[in-house]
Amino acid sequence: MSLLIPIVPLAVVIGFLILRLLWGPLASSNLLEYQRGVLYRRGLPVKDLGPGRHRVWLGIEKLIIVDVRPIQVSYENQQVALRDGATAVYSFSGTACVTDARKVIYCARNYSQLPEFVFLCCSRRVMNGFSAKQLRGGNDALVAAITKCAEPRLTASGFELLTFRLNQVSVISASFQE
């Protein structure tokens, strides 16, 4: 019994040291208003976190932070071949924001490039199916078609399409028929 008196504090110290070795130090991380986080423990996602202060065991946990501020995309003087062989020049701008932090982490290595990629692919694909005559008719149908193409793709990756604008569209070379 007399041995327990020095052993107990020593065992606590040894236990603490072992815990610290295995789990690492306890740290706190602050998420700002425009940030969301996903807490990973032993390599797997366990919890979605909102703004505020969160405690993380550095040895076994990691907080992956996602910026949810809108991502602005703008492209100038892009050329596209139209269905009838003519060439058009167009400029567009768009905005998308993060709605699902967990999906966004997995969608790409660099998630901020994904809206850019989707806008570029959809605009090029849709316009490639239009003729010069259709383009001269007005931009509304074109914007609607591009938005319809981009929206589900962005949603599937955890984004929300906020705006899409075609700033300039002009046919610069004649079609094969002309």
Binding site: L3, I7, L10, I14, L17, I18, R20, L21, G24, Y40, R42, G43, L44, P45, L58, G59, I60, K62, I64, V80, A81, R83, G85, I105, Y106, C107, A108, R109, N110, Q113, L114, F117, L120, C121, R124, R125, N128, F176
Partner: protein
């Protein structure tokens, strides 16, 4: 058990923990989330591929290279070529490039995405120049599938792969050969 043998035992335990903690303190702890893999080397030689979790190399002889397995979207703008009828053509392609084999990718490529692009472009050019450019939806679907297959064969050598290939722009016009008269 008496005080004569408990104190040397506790001293020994304390010493082991101290040495262990000092040793581990010299090597960085590597956290690998489920979308990454770690390629472990010991004395420069490949050991194994680590899955998700926290890994702490015990000695400095061990090194862990972390590889991101998530896809990276790429946009190949206007890959130009001449088809079998010598029609001047180009196509723009959207796709996703990702790591297929972490060990190969680490050993073969310095920048996995950037260094894959020339291989992708070359494979696409060699494939589409063997066919006839056609604006139909069927042609786009079939060509996308063919590109996926051919490019994956090429990228497999360096541990990469391609997915979700879509032809977003296709343009073709009669080339020089059709307008040239042959004279002897």
């Amino acid at each position: 058990m008496n005080t004569d043998n408990i104190w040397p035992a506790l001293f020994l335990v304390g010493l082991v923990i101290l040495i262990w903690s000092r040793r581990l303190g010299k090597t960085p702890r590597v956290f690998i989330p489920d979308y990454k893999r770690g390629v472990r080397f010991s004395r420069g030689a490949f050991v194994d591929v680590l899955g998700p979790g926290t890994h702490h190399p015990f000695t400095l002889k061990q090194q862990i290279e972390v590889v991101d397995m998530r896809p990276q979207p790429i946009f190949l703008d206007r890959v130009s070529y001449r088809d079998v009828l010598q029609n001047e053509s180009f196509m723009s392609i959207g796709a996703e490039v990702l790591v297929g084999d972490a060990r190969l990718a680490v050993n073969m490529l310095k920048d996995q995405i950037k260094d894959s692009l020339p291989l992708v472009r070359h494979a696409v050019q060699s494939l589409v120049s063997r066919g006839i450019a056609d604006d139909s939806a069927e042609y786009r679907i079939k060509t996308s599938e063919d590109i996926t297959r051919i490019v994956n064969d090429e990228l497999a050598r360096v541990g990469m792969k391609i997915a979700n290939v879509e032809i977003v722009e296709l343009w073709s016009r009669p080339g020089l050969e059709r307008n040239t008269t042959v004279s002897n």
